[in-house]
Symmetry: C2
Subunit: 240 residues, 2 copies
DNA sequence: TCTCTTTATAGTCGTCGAGACCATTAAAGA
DNA sequence: TCTTTAATGGTCTCGACGACTATAAAGAGA
């Protein structure tokens, strides 16, 4: 780690890859692009790009997130580093080290294909997809790791609110858990646990309620300031 | 992410930094080296080094771990990627992206200073050290992140056994939790919870017991195959 | 040798959280 | 109006956990 010459080493390219999730129609979706060039032309891949010389990986990831989703307000979105993938042969062209991130987007708008010419879509996430074509590079692994991380963080953090708009009902919040975990939750028990957890959510003043849907109108809540949950909100069974 | 020239970008140097923990005299210790060169000459730092062109970050981390600790059997040690630090100015000399790892070592031998000329020591980890000189680079942050991760993983994985020799008593295992969490645990309740968790530990056949210490001889156990704990083994209070 | 200290191990008891389940309320839709 | 749907409120039981007490088996010191 001492006295080194910046050209004495094989140059590493550093990129970011993004696993961007949203909830749509009660199901978990992930943002995937279709590659236009070799290698892996025509394959689906996670959006991503190079880290520029003057930015950190986090900055690059947020820039890419804005470019790929077309969202203007990307500052408030949840973005979290997942891990770094550095196998020497993960990109056949040259040595690429990729820092993977997970992002959570509420109310995702349709995407038109971002900065690259490649198409981009919100595709349903299905954990074990037998018939699906594998993603480019090691992105199947990255995506699986990202899903594991998000599912685990729902248990002991208030992360689920990042999938919701600023004001939401407990039913919407419950759908987040159900979509990510792929499990049914009892509405009454879920409500009791969420409200018993200090700082998870707080009611919107003025007894605001959401009408227009079916059934009894639900009360509206905002995200609370809590990041760590005590006690955790455990998922039903020993799923991965 | 298409058609790029390997010299069209500022070359990034990629390094690994290691936060290596062990338990000694009932307390948590961390392996720190003393830097011999600028910048930060004389400061303590986490051990680490460059990733070579033909190795992954994980491979580089394990190689550095062997070099710095002087351990011959480094294959079975717990080594886990923490996160990647990529702020553009984190190293004043050039652009360095560092992948940080956490390693757990049982029965740590003394270290003589590794491949670098710098001295290396197992220093007590004290979470809030007011009077201590800060570490080099952003290593205070890295070390704090590593400690958080290890503490959290003790709760819901069988990680604690990685701090223990192949055969250990429940008292030794309890000391691991106490050292990392900085909290006292009731021996009887700890025993009940550990034995009630399937796959955490298994008794050594032949009713082997450890004698020679004070008190009643304790039964010996081995690490079980469980990686995830159901239910988790929660720490006493809402500590960080 | 006898006693004290230390640590492991066993058991008890009260509290609390969690899941299963039922009942009621209030809206939309036919 | 009647049915359907979803939110909300309540009860019950079980199991986990923390606090606590008791017993067993070794070393240390008198």
């Amino acid at each position: 780690m001492q006295g080194y010459d910046k050209y004495a080493f094989e140059p590493f390219a550093v990129t970011v890859d993004l696993a961007v999730f949203t909830i749509r129609e009660g199901g978990l979706r992930v943002l995937l692009v279709e590659r236009g060039e070799q290698p892996y032309a025509g394959r689906r891949a996670l959006p991503g790009g190079f880290v520029q010389p003057d930015e950190s990986a986090e900055t690059a990831a947020r820039r890419e997130l804005a470019e790929e989703t077309g969202l203007s307000d990307v500052a408030g979105l949840h973005l979290e580093q997942l891990r770094t993938y550095s196998e020497p042969d993960r990109d056949p062209r040259m040595r690429v080290v990729s820092v993977a991130f997970t992002a959570l987007v509420p109310n995702a708008p349709d995407v038109y294909g971002g900065s690259d010419a490649a198409r981009a879509d919100w595709l349903p996430y299905t954990e074990h997809r037998p018939g699906y074509a594998p993603l480019a590079f090691d992105h199947d692994q990255v995506l699986a790791d990202a899903h594991d991380r998000v599912g685990a963080k729902l248990e002991y953090t208030g992360l689920a609110t990042a999938f919701c708009p600023p004001e939401f009902t407990l039913g919407e919040l419950r759908q987040v858990y159900q979509a990510v975990w792929g499990a049914e939750l009892d509405p009454a028990n879920f409500r009791r646990k969420v409200l018993a957890t200090p700082g998870l959510v707080e009611p919107v003043p003025g007894a605001a309620r959401l009408t227009g849907g079916r059934g009894k109108p639900a009360a509206l809540y905002r995200a609370g300031g809590a990041t760590a949950l005590h006690p955790p909100l455990l998922r039903p069974e020993g799923r991965s």
